[in-house]
Symmetry: C2
Subunit: 180 residues, 2 copies
């Protein structure tokens, strides 16, 4: 099992990324404290061909040294937008074409593995490392999903959560496309 060289991985270029058809997923980062987490999410969004990232409130936006360190340049070609107020943004995204999903542990949250993404564009909202997604933002969402956790801690690192949720939803979208 010879390890592949970077040149053998046949990755696309930044300009090919911009033109590529994206997966119907948009991320909203609601007051994320750590710029390194933001950068890591940009890097995953690159790998999974995500359409756009909204950075809200205190969430850092490029150019930023820590984002650069963990995004490794992905912030240059992924479409992103900064909005100071998450609630105003969510209200503009509330539209029949979009399905708003708070990634948060709520009274009614659906376990990730039981979640079947609808045909709409999926807007995934991730919250602050300590306080999670704002309750007023959750109130505007169509649903909430959670990654089941069996240990002592209350949550996963936000960039790990975002990676798992994107991966899982993409598997579902892919299966759905194959079965059509």
């Amino acid at each position: 099992m010879r390890k592949l060289k970077n040149s053998e991985l046949q990755r696309i270029t930044s300009s090919e990324f911009k033109k590529a058809e994206k997966n119907p997923i948009i991320l909203v980062l609601d007051n994320v404290r750590s710029a390194m987490n933001v950068g890591s999410i940009f890097r995953s969004a690159d790998a999974f061909l995500i359409e756009k990232i909204y950075l809200c409130g205190i969430t850092a936006s490029p150019p930023n040294k820590e984002i650069l360190k963990t995004a490794l340049g992905a912030q240059k070609h992924i479409e992103w937008q900064y909005n100071e107020n998450t609630i105003s943004l969510i209200k503009t995204l509330k539209h029949p074409d979009n399905y708003l999903v708070a990634v948060e542990q709520t009274k009614k949250s659906i376990i990730l593995s039981d979640f079947t993404p609808p045909k709409n564009k999926i807007i995934l909202i991730f919250g602050n490392e300590v306080f999670g997604v704002n309750q007023k933002v959750i109130d505007l969402c169509d649903t909430s999903i959670e990654i089941p956790q069996y240990g002592t801690k209350h949550s996963l690192n936000i960039s790990v959560s975002a990676g798992i949720v994107m991966w899982d939803i993409l598997q579902n979208i892919k299966k759905d496309n194959i079965s059509q």
Copy 2:
């Protein structure tokens, strides 16, 4: 959808974690550079009830300020062991009860979604942020798996990769248990 308070999440205590039946997964971190990544992996290993983490070579081990910052205490109850030499460790782990899986892009790597975990205990090996898993370590493994990536970057952040691989394999183990 009322957000749950931490007290409502009904997480287990550290001593309950120690006694809890673990998932048959062991992680090996082969010369991981960032202690923050190590801490984040400890935190995911807590959430997914992972059996043990081996820390090899230059990989930082507790007590360590950066591990503490991202593991949030998970390093206190998850079983871990430091081994200077990854190859010697892998040789001791090479046993019919164990299935050694390098998480690495190789000539023969299996796409994560096509990977069916065997009944054995799964040993997942993650490599250095820049150089990946050492080729000599890969040569000792039973297989290699990769997370398919469609963007410009060569890899995901290692703690994100580890989270996705653990999550996906656990879904497979769970399905397998239900179908029995």
